[in-house]
Symmetry: C2
Subunit: 120 residues, 2 copies
């Protein structure tokens, strides 16, 4: 299937990326996972105070898109860790470019760790 | 003013970038402006069929953020061209990384022009 009908908006690769992570939260969750957070409560406790329904919904979407895998680490109650796949982690260069832009143009923003900016 | 109170969500540069262009349309409009579109009707006629209220709202926001300037080229009726500032154009590396990701992970997406991918 190679017609444009397969796409929500068009066959543009930018548009198709944004159809997945073009929102205010998805890349923030990926930032946290890249930085080593693994559990729901770690993700919920970031300084941005993501609404929990939004966090749950985005984690489900990222799992459905094969951008992360969920692994149960406790059974009563069930608790999971969330680990980026290569597909998820490959958004890192996007995060790094957004961070550069933010540092250049939004006064007072934090300087990310060098290890984050140079990670591949 | 350097406390986190100045920020909507946090001082993270990624978050502050996404507070401006973290949505499904803003970077698509910037894509078109980078590619040489200049007028409202050129932007409205892209294959993604952006709703016109959405387009008008995003152009206003981008102007308010000093990411583009609006120049009147006709008086009756008033018509404008939209031209990216350096601040707006400096999102290009983000677009390029999103395009690479889209090409790698969303089957059947267009390959962008080399001139777009290598432009700075």
């Amino acid at each position: 299937m190679n017609s444009d009908n397969q796409f929500l908006r068009s066959g543009c690769p930018i548009v198709n990326g944004l159809d997945i992570f073009g929102d205010k939260w998805t890349l923030v969750i990926i930032r946290d996972l890249v930085c080593g957070k693994k559990t729901y409560s770690e993700l919920a406790n970031s300084p941005e105070n993501i609404p929990t329904n939004r966090l749950a919904e985005r984690l489900k979407m990222l799992e459905a898109e094969n951008m992360l895998v969920r692994e149960q680490y406790q059974s009563k109650p069930k608790r999971y860790t969330y680990v980026l796949t290569k597909k998820g982690r490959d958004t890192l260069p996007i995060l790094q470019e957004v961070a550069k832009w933010g540092n250049n143009y939004v006064e007072g923003t934090w300087t990310p760790l060098k290890s984050f900016m140079e990670s591949t």
